[in-house]
Every structure is written in structure tokens, then in C-alpha cells.
Amino acid sequence: MRDYIIRRVLLLVPNLFILATLTFFLARVLPGDVALGLVAEDGSIIDQEAVEVIRERLGLNDPMPVQYARWMLQLLQGDLGKSDVSDISVVQVVTETAEVTFLLAILSVIIGAVMAIPFGILSAMMRGRWPDQVIRTFSAVFLALPNFWLGILLLLALVTWFSWSPPIFQETFLDAPVEQFQRLILPSIAIGTSFAAVATRLTRSTMLEVLNQDYIRTARAKGLFPNRVIIRHALPNAVLPVITLSALLFAGLLNGAVVLERIFALPGMGVEIVTATSERDFQLLQGLVLVLGAFVMVWMLLIDLIYVALDKRIQLE
């Protein structure tokens, strides 16, 4: 296991190098640059000379290989760079936005899992009966609903019926846990519900598969209580695909639930990445993508380790 972990950690280096290179060149496929983004307004370029001044200051007039070499050299020195627009360091942007993104992702996964696992089990155990039909219908409905639309509906419903909307000022979880929770709960429910729709169906199908296994039949034959059979024997095996799904969702959410972040004015990484892209803030974009790439790679490694802990049959090689 130790060798495996070391090997995976070492693999991060070439992976991040490839990611950094791809991000650098793909960003520059986009037409325009930050100088045009800063000085253009609704169809006209306000100050032609300013475009050149900004390009010169940011080194955008240098040949692409020179810019690439500068970016790589900067990375080797452990410097992720600064936003071309605001002059704020990428590290500071990550620090300021990571909490929202992580909390949103965690809360969404928790809400989704809390809904999916019991409903999935219930659906499997009541197969063909009305609770199963109801759960499957609802999961189909929530699967079809775009989560941002659900988010808007939740917001409008609370505003209309309870005259309540989430707090508008961003505070850290440690400073104001209740307010932060209030800000995050609606988008988390919106994301979590969509996730739950998929995960419920997955839990149901894997549960049905597991319940037909010989070892379950054996457990029942031994006279174990049905609850014990399900919780001790069936659930740990049935829940593995859900964990995989949760892990993938979490990794996806690290990149930000852009639309929901925007609707609920959450300053998360998703909004930052989209803004950096539209403003052609290459330094910020490259830095954020690299940091997120590293997060996701480490997260995937952790998931592999969790698999081993949950299922002793899995061997890491």
C-alpha cells in the first residue's frame, strides 16, 4: 500500500505538468486577451493605446514559447501567479473561494446521500409495491429537473411563502456558521436532490443485486434479523457504487456549480473560473485549474484508499 501511495503521489507531478501545459495552450485558443477584455465595452474598444500598454505590461506581446517558459519557471518557484485583472494572487483567490466550494460540495453530497441511501434501500425492499413506485417516480422527476431551476424555485418558494431569502454577505463558516449554512443550504439541496435522484436508483439496483447473493440467503437462513442482514451484510456492498458516484460528484463540484453559485451569489471557484475565462485572465485561470486539478487527483487517491478500507477484497497494486 505504501508503495502504491508513493507511486500515485509521484505521478501527480507529470500529471500536473501535462495539465499546466494543456491549460496554458487551451486558454490561448480563445480569441482575444485580457487587455481587450479590460478596455472593450459593449462593442467598441475604448482606448486602443491602452490595449498595447496593458499587453506590454503583462508580457502578452512576447512569443508564446516565452510566455510558456515564464509560466513554467514561475511554477517551479512555487508561484501560481497573480490575476491579470485584479492583481490578487491565485493563492489568495483560492483561499477565499475554496471554503464555499468545499462546503457546497460536502453539503450537497451529504444531502444527496442521506436521501439516496434510505430511499434506495426502501425502494429495493419494497420492490414493485407503492413506496417503490413513488420513489422511482420522484427520482425520475428530479433527474429531469435542472438543478439550477430547482434552486430558483426553492428560492422563490421561500421568498413567496416565508419572506425569507439567504443572507447576502459572505462570512466564513467559523465566524458565522448559521449564516453560512443558510447561504449554502438551498443550492446544496438543489444539487443534492439531483444527485439523490441518480444515487437512489443506483442504490436500489445494487441493493436488489446484493439481496439475491448467496451470502445474504445464508445470513437469512442462519436466522439473523432482517435489519441486521441489510445493515451488516447487504449495505456495505450495495453502497460502494454510491460512494464512487459521490466521489465523482464531489470532484465535479470542486470545479464549482457555476450557475447555482451565481444565483445564490456564492463566491466559489466555479464563478471565479468562468469570470477568469470570460475576462481572459489567463494567469488566474491557469492557476485555478492547476490547483483544482491537484485537489481532484489527491481526492481520487483518497477514494481508492477508502475503497480498500470498505472492501477487503480490493487490493491496491
Partner: protein
């Protein structure tokens, strides 16, 4: 055993229900009940706002009234409390002179003062600010300002004439690597002289009596030299030090700016104490329109501001929210037009430009842009948008008037047939508002027999096409106040202006511009303006004017009070000093 089995599942369900209830409780906890707002008189659906009054050339020597008299509100404001305003975006840079967009002044201008400022009630009359008096030199090429005594920066240091000199020298000659896109006009300053302890003279390159308006504009603020020259420059909120009515308190870039009142502010309110009335003022970014509507509906903010593009949802929200809020429309200065690339075919030909100009029916465009209620959401404009002193006459000019429209259309079609033009490609910003506007423009041309293909891209992508002159036509919608016809010409259409691909003007335009800039009699200025417009329509045609949205809108809680116009002038007034909240505010 069976009983246990049955009870276990409801327990799971019960757990879920309990969790859901807990979430609901947490949502509710820590919140005060939204304060009931007294029902005010019903708010009417907004009327299309008239364009700003025509700008008259200022008298050569102004005799300004004292600030206090000029600012007398209709009633005394109430002091205290805090006000929160939700906007679509806030600042991206602490030194907002370095960026062109108007989001930053919305959040930062209240911390600064100008030499002079616009009267909020009309947006054009010049009032005293740091300068108590001013005079314009005989040749209309110099301005002398008398600066009031005892003005202090927020850090306690005295404002000096050196600060003013430093500010405008910086605008004239930005440090290496910096540019101030909205202060280009100030680059024509030739000399700044401190005359004595209170007077400073600013000279400009060419006679232009209207130049004084640059000192009143949102970007023409005065900085503290000792702060700006600190290491790192304007690198954070602690460097936002001005002499304005509010002192910056706490701020996060692109999120919010909170300011507290400046007890040493130099302009006095009618009650004998300094402005502002508010103790605290916050601007917070809520990028989504639904979030801004929800925030005002639930009392999270006192004012929600909406871009021109969000006018229709704002009107819809007003109708659904009811009587606790009202809507105010800030006259929206600027112009929407179609830029023609004269660096290549077909619009390098005056005939093609004239065909495009004549085929575009501005009244039809206005009709297409009208609200579902039937009200007009835009006004037709000429080449100078809302600063045009003759904007009210636009619906009656030959090529626009219903009576003569057929003749103009026939001439346009004949020109198009002669050149064999059947349509063109139009570069359009990808934001939905612009796409919708472009589709309407395309429809107007389709009615006239031209086919328009839309080439949609984001701002930076379009800017690249425009910079490389790789387009036929593009839609441009500058909202920014260009203070006068001459400024419009210089900054927008003439070579060196924003329309870098516009056709060069006939030489006579420069002569007429000189006449306009040198005119000290408003009658002469109007005559020159009329002549310029005639030449532009017949011999130049740099763009195809479309119109302009009547205004940006704000939903304002009824406990927010202001003197007429103070909340308006979306672009020109963000000092908020004469806005107050009454006792019904939850934040008082």
C-alpha cells in the same frame, strides 16, 4: 421480529423528516422577522423617462451658487441607519480609474470628491464640489478653480492644491504601464498652475468651454498624493482615501464595499450638520437578477439595481412585489448604434453606409423594443445619443419620420440595389440582452429587405475582431456619459476615438468642431451642432444610430428617501450623501 422490522423503516423516514425539519429550523433561526413596511401610495408602472435635458454650453465665466443653497432638498433628511444596495457587480480594481466599466464608481465614488459635480436633479448642471467657484478663460482654453479651505482626507491629512495638481497630471500622463480609459480627454491638459493658496488653473490644448464637464464626471475624482505614492500604490481598500462623504470601512473585491459616514465632510446639509445622512452605506454584488429581486423582497437590501438589460424583469418584479417598494428609473445616457467597418467592403463606400443608415427604421426598432405593457423602453437617437441637444427632434427628421419614411426607404433600397448589397454580418456580444437587441435590429433590416447574419462572441473575442478590422458591422451600446457633442465626436467617432474602424470624416467636420468648441454663445454652439449632424447624415455616416434604452431601473424600499433625482443619474452620481432612510427601515 416483524414489529421491529416495521418500526425500523419509519425510523429511517422519521430521521429524514427530522433532518429536513432541522434544516427548516436552521433557515429560520437567527433571522429577524422581516419588518412590516407601511403601505405607501401605489407606485405607478414606470413611465419611459425623458432623455436628459439638452446640454447648453456653459457661460464663459460661471458664477456658481454656494453649495449649500444649490443642494437644498425639498425637506430635511433624517439622520442615521444603514442602507444596503444590491448591484450586479462591484469593483475589480481599487483604482477605478484603471478600468472602463461603471461598476467600480458605483461602489467607490462615494469616497471621493471632484472639483465640481453634476446636479443630480438634471445630470448636466455643474455644481460646486471641492471648488467653490470657477472661471473659464476668455479663450475657453483654461479653467481656474477656487478650492475651499479646510478639506481633509479621510486619514486626517489636509487636501492641498498639490493633490489636485498631482491627480490631473497623473490623468494627463499616466505612469508607465498604466492607462485610464475614461480619462482620455484629460490628456489634452497642457499645464496645471497653482496660482495661490486657493486657486489652481488648468490649461487645455484647444478651446473647449465644455471641458469642465470632465472634472465633474464619475472618473474625474481627486486623489490623495501621499496615499497614492505609497509603496504598492492602490493595492487595497486602505488606499481608498478621498475627501468624499463616506469613508471606506470594509471591502472585498467583487463582493461588497461597506462605508461609514465621514464626520468631517465639507458639504453641509440643511440641518446644519455635514452630509451624508446615512451612518453606513453598503454596496453588495448579487449577480443574478432573481437574487436581487429576492433580496429586496425579503428586506435583505434596501435598493436593488438593475442593468438596462434587466429592465423587463425589474418591472415584472415590481408588479409582483406590491406596495413595499417603488421603482425609479435613472436616465440612461449613451447610445446604441451599429458600427460599420470602413476599412473594407462594403462599408468603405459612403453609398453603402448611407443605404445601411436609411434602411434602418428607428421608430420600428423602438416599437420592437417596447415592453409587453406597450410602453416604449427606448428612445430613438441620432449620432450623439442622449447628449444630443436635438434628441427630441429625431422622430421628425426626414429619414425617421413616419411621413417621409417611405422616401428614405426607397432611397436606401435604390442605393443597395445599385451596389448589389443584400445583407451583412453583424458581430454581437453573447450576453442575452445584446443578442436580443441584435435580433431586433436584424428584424428591422429584414423588414427593409436585408438579411443580417449574427456572429455572436464574448466581449474579448469581439474586441479582437474589431481591433483587427475583421468584421462588417458590429453592435455597440456604450452607456457612458460623454459630456458633450464635441466629446462625443472626439472620443467616439473621429480618428483616435473608440470607433477605430469608422470612416474618416470630411475635413469640414474639424472646422465645425472648432466652431463648436470655441462657441461661447449657446446659439452658436447649437448652429454648429446642427451643421455637424447634417454632414454626418449626408457625407460621413460613421455609424447607424439605433436608439437608447430609457433608463436603468432600481427597486427601492419605501423607507429609502431622497431628494428628487438623487438616486437617479445612475452613471453620474454615486456619492449617496443626500439619501436617507426613515424610521421604517429595519436597519435604523
Amino acid at each position: 421480529m416483524k414489529k421491529k422490522h416495521i418500526t425500523r423503516i419509519p425510523f429511517t423516514l422519521g430521521l429524514i423528516i427530522a433532518c429536513t425539519s432541522l434544516i427548516a429550523v436552521v433557515i429560520g433561526c437567527g433571522e429577524e422577522e422581516p419588518t412590516a413596511t407601511p403601505v405607501p401610495p401605489p407606485t405607478q408602472a414606470p413611465e419611459p423617462t425623458a432623455a436628459p435635458a439638452p446640454t447648453e454650453a456653459p457661460e464663459p465665466t460661471a458664477a456658481p451658487e454656494p453649495a449649500e443653497e444649490a443642494m437644498a432638498p425639498s425637506s430635511d433628511g433624517q439622520r442615521g441607519g444603514s442602507l444596503i444596495r444590491g448591484v450586479s457587480r462591484t469593483l475589480r480594481q481599487w483604482d477605478y480609474n484603471t478600468e472602463a466599466v461603471w461598476f467600480a464608481p458605483q461602489s467607490l465614488q462615494r469616497h471621493y470628491s471632484n472639483l465640481v459635480r453634476f446636479d443630480p436633479s438634471d445630470g448636466t448642471t455643474i455644481l460646486p464640489d471641492l471648488a467653490t467657484e470657477w472661471s473659464i478663460g476668455d479663450g475657453a482654453d483654461s479653467f481656474t478653480f477656487t478650492i475651499r479651505d479646510g478639506v481633509k482626507f479621510h486619514d486626517g491629512q489636509d487636501l492641498t492644491l498639490e493633490d489636485i495638481k498631482w491627480t490631473f497630471e497623473r490623468s494627463k500622463s499616466p505612469p508607465e504601464g498604466e492607462r485610464y480609459p475614461r480619462l482620455l480627454a484629460l490628456q489634452s491638459i497642457t499645464d496645471i498652475t497653482i496660482v495661490d493658496d486657493n486657486n489652481i488653473t488648468i490649461e487645455i490644448e484647444n478651446p473647449n468651454a465644455e471641458f469642465i464637464q470632465n472634472f465633474a464626471a464619475a472618473w474625474g475624482i481627486v486623489f490623495a498624493q501621499h496615499v497614492m505614492e505609497q509603496e504598492g500604490g492602490m493595492n487595497g481598500p486602505d488606499r481608498v482615501v478621498g475627501t468624499g462623504p463616506f469613508i471606506i470601512d470594509e471591502a472585498e473585491m467583487e463582493e461588497f464595499v461597506t462605508s461609514r459616514s465621514n464626520p468631517d465632510y465639507f458639504l453641509m446639509a440643511p440641518d446644519g450638520d455635514p452630509f451624508p445622512y446615512l451612518d453606513e452605506m453598503t454596496t453588495v454584488a448579487l449577480s443574478d437578477v432573481e437574487a436581487r429581486i429576492a433580496a429586496i423582497q425579503t428586506g435583505r437590501v434596501d435598493i436593488s439595481s438593475f442593468d438596462p438589460a434587466e429592465f423587463a424583469p425589474a418591472v415584472g418584479a415590481l408588479n409582483s412585489i406590491g406596495d413595499s417598494v417603488r421603482m425609479e428609473i435613472s436616465p440612461l445616457a449613451g447610445i446604441n448604434y451599429l458600427s460599420m467597418n470602413a476599412n473594407g467592403p462594403p462599408f468603405d463606400d459612403l453609398k453603402a453606409r448611407r443605404a445601411a443608415y436609411l434602411l434602418f427604421d428607428r421608430l420600428r426598432m423602438q416599437q420592437l423594443e417596447s415592453l409587453p405593457t406597450g410602453e416604449f423602453a427606448s428612445v430613438p437617437t441620432g449620432f450623439f445619443g442622449t447628449v444630443d441637444p436635438f434628441i427630441d427632434e429625431i422622430p421628425d427628421i426626414w429619414e425617421v419620420s413616419k411621413d417621409t419614411r417611405e422616401e428614405a426607404l426607397a432611397e436606401g433600397k435604390a442605393l443597395a440595389d445599385e451596389l448589389g448589397i443584400t445583407g451583412f454580418e453583424m458581430v454581437v456580444n453573447s450576453r442575452s440582452f445584446f443578442q436580443e437587441l441584435a435580433q431586433l435590429a436584424a428584424q428591422v433590416y429584414a423588414d427593409a429587405g436585408w438579411e443580417v447574419t449574427l456572429n455572436v462572441g464574448d466581449s474579448a473575442a469581439n474586441a479582437e475582431l474589431i481591433q483587427s478590422a475583421n468584421f462588417e458591422m458590429s453592435m455597440s451600446t456604450p452607456n457612458v456619459v460623454l459630456p458633450s457633442v464635441s466629446a462625443f465626436l472626439l472620443e467616439q467617432y473621429l480618428p483616435g476615438g473608440r470607433e477605430a474602424n469608422a470612416a474618416p470624416p470630411p475635413d469640414k467636420v474639424y472646422d465645425l468642431l472648432a466652431d463648436l468648441q470655441g462657441a461661447t454663445d449657446p446659439v452658436d454652439a447649437q448652429a454648429a451642432t446642427r451643421e455637424i449632424q447634417k454632414v454626418m447624415r449626408e457625407e460621413w455616416i460613421p455609424v447607424v444610430p439605433m436608439g437608447k434604452q430609457v433608463g436603468s431601473s432600481e427597486l427601492i424600499a419605501n423607507h429609502v428617501q431622497d431628494r428628487p433625482g438623487a438616486l437617479g443619474q445612475w452613471f453620474n452620481l454615486h456619492t449617496w450623501m443626500d439619501v436617507w432612510i426613515d424610521e421604517n427601515s429595519p436597519r435604523k
